[in-house]
């Protein structure tokens, strides 16, 4: 028996929630319980009002599924607002990665050169390794990691995406 799949789109959602215990589990649990994709999820208090947190979720699915994800999130009692930044128009998305690269000699020089191209900062160095800090859109970070893999990538820590709409207006 074949399980059908439909063409999928990637969407970045900004969700403001009441800052209460278990809210992250509630949101993450909604995705797992209903079988929605979750590519990244980040959360922090960002408003003056310490009782509200902002969650950025990158998800993917066919348009009808995205519509459901938004409606289902909106239905959760502690959720204030769900904004589909992808639908809203141009927005900025950034992620931070810490990238550990091991190597000596030529490899080491190559790693430094690539880091410069990607504006990655060295935050730790030994004679045999670097830890780079790099920020940017997820694609830029993917590309950076791909290149580093060739010169001696050993470990990565990534934050997931924080995103915000362009222009003067808040969402």
């Amino acid at each position: 028996m074949q399980i059908k799949t439909q063409a999928s789109e990637r969407h970045t959602l900004s969700v403001t929630v009441e800052n209460e215990p278990g809210i992250l589990a509630r949101i993450a649990g909604l995705f797992s319980a209903r079988g929605y994709n979750i590519e990244s999820l980040t959360v922090a208090d960002v408003t003056e009002d310490a009782t509200i947190s902002r969650i950025t979720i990158v998800t993917s699915g066919p348009p009808a599924v995205i519509e459901q994800i938004i409606a289902q999130l909106d239905r959760l009692v502690p959720v204030h607002r769900v904004v589909d930044l992808t639908e809203l128009g141009p927005h900025v998305a950034r992620e931070l990665a810490l990238v550990k690269v091991k190597g000596t000699g030529e490899k080491r020089i190559e790693a430094m050169r690539l880091a410069e191209v990607y504006r990655a900062r060295v935050v730790d160095a030994t004679t045999a390794s670097f830890v780079f800090e790099v920020t940017g859109g997820p694609e830029k970070i993917d590309k950076f990691l791909e290149l580093m893999r060739e010169v001696g990538l050993v470990e990565v820590a990534r934050t997931g995406v924080a995103a915000i709409a362009r222009g003067a207006d808040p969402i």
């Binding site: 028996m1 929630v17 009441e18 215990p21 278990g22 589990a25 509630r26 649990g29 319980a33 009782t51 009808a64 519509e67 459901q68 409606a71 289902q72 909106d74 239905r75 959760l76 009692v77 502690p78 959720v79 204030h80």
Partner: protein, 587 residues
Amino acid sequence: MAADKTGADILIEALTDLGVEVVFGYPGGAVLPIYDALFKQTKIRHILVRQEGGAAHAAEGYARATGKPGVVLVTSGPGATNAVTGIADALMDSIPMVVITGQVGTPLIGTDAFQECDTIGITRHCTKHNYLVKDPAKLGAVIHEAFYIATSGRPGPVVIDLPKDVQVATAAYRKPAGPGAVAAQHKSYRPQVKADTALIETAVEMLAAAERPVLYTGGGIINAGPAASQMLRELQRISGAPVTSTLMGLGAFPASHPAWLGMLGMHGTYEANHAMNQADLIVALGARFDDRVTGRLDAFAPNARKIHIDIDRSSINKIVRVDVGIVGDVGRAMDDMVRVWKGRAHQAADLSTWFARIDEWRGKKSLAYPESKAAIMPQHAIRRLWEATRHLKPIVSTEVGQHQMWAAQHFDFEGPNKWLTSGGLGTMGYGLPAAIGAQIGHPDALVIDIAGEASIQMNIQELATATQYRLPVKVFILNNEYMGMVRQWQDLTYAGRHSHSYSEALPDFVKLAEAYGWKGMRIEDPDALDGGIAEMLAHDGPVMVDCRVAKLANCFPMIPSGAAHTDMLLYESEVVGEMTDEAKALV
């Protein structure tokens, strides 16, 4: 400043302020302070069930029959986990319910303490919302908020997990100024009650222009209160449209009405399903396009434009894409539609051609069943039960299985809040405690649980609850010795391989009833059916009837999984042997 009270006293006082009259519960170490507080007061009645699952279903039955929220009180750990099935059931069927669970003291949380479990974690996915209250000062507000959330918007179960030290700690309690104050205070939860006017107008124009409309109604209309059922009659009257209903919606529209098509879906009538299939407009009212209703999606109402009115925005376009989605209280939305309709002086369209076709489908008599002199046909038993009791307007609950579907098909309801069944989750063991809850809410009503012999055993211990509170509940078991619905599927799908669907060892239900202090009866002979029903009704107390019915009867009509609404099986002879893997997966 109000004098400080213990958490347990705050709970009781807040429940009293909220108008709670009954709590269904079971005690334990983690709720002893609350039980002590209950002991010291007289306003709230506590109904002691025999298993926490029974408390949850009883609260559901109470809520469904009275329209008021059901309240449950259970201890931590096993008490809470026993209640989970009922909580999940209430979520699926949108039943307003508040469940108070005891929790170990806050210093012990997370230490694997005795009778500790993560109730909040376990119930997160089967509640509308849940709370762990760690600060007694917040308790009063949380209780009021929990009732507001459970009863507003799309109703559902809310859990309040209450650690034992919070129950004994003291704090001030302030009564909110009213439900409006609670709603205004809530920062994020804003159910949309009033529908968009422009969309209502569009819906009215579509209904006025339709040639083959169907009103497809669901449990949401019952949840919206008795006025919504009245409004449905009015909407039907002005538009002339035929009406069908889901399992959960039965009773919102009177079954005796000429525009009534019967239930739709898997075991719905031929006329309801064909009318849906051939409609040019479907107005879904508080119904959610459940898979048991739609059957194969690509063949569901292919030519119809669809309007969907629902209080829950996420129900719209979830399963079926609609042309007009309207978020709002279905009762108010119908009221708005009626007003717009009258304001525009629309006349009911001439639907005689449409009804002529419907009459042809009705001619199939899809609910007909073979008669037998040798054995009681289960459908016949329900029909006779209905005829004997219809004038008493009984409240009927069911368990889950063939008997449930036969009850839905053959027991005709004229009004809302009379039909209690587990539609969404399909929980065997629901019917007896639900009947008990309904009887508590309506002490003078005739309450009957139509049961199967397998289902009734899931919460049989609740017979004792009815005995203790002198509830004259009637349990009418259609005993076919099989888990009939399972066997029916095995006949249809697995070439009659009856894997573990026969009950090898059944109790003597008459003796069992008597052991619990009930009257027990057995009816075996078709000629004894009417007399037996009369005897059951004449007894002024709880009665359990073991009605022996034809063992291999199947429930028709039926849309097999994976089939379209037009491919209904009507008769036994149409039962095919083995299904494809694809169809099996849809079962």
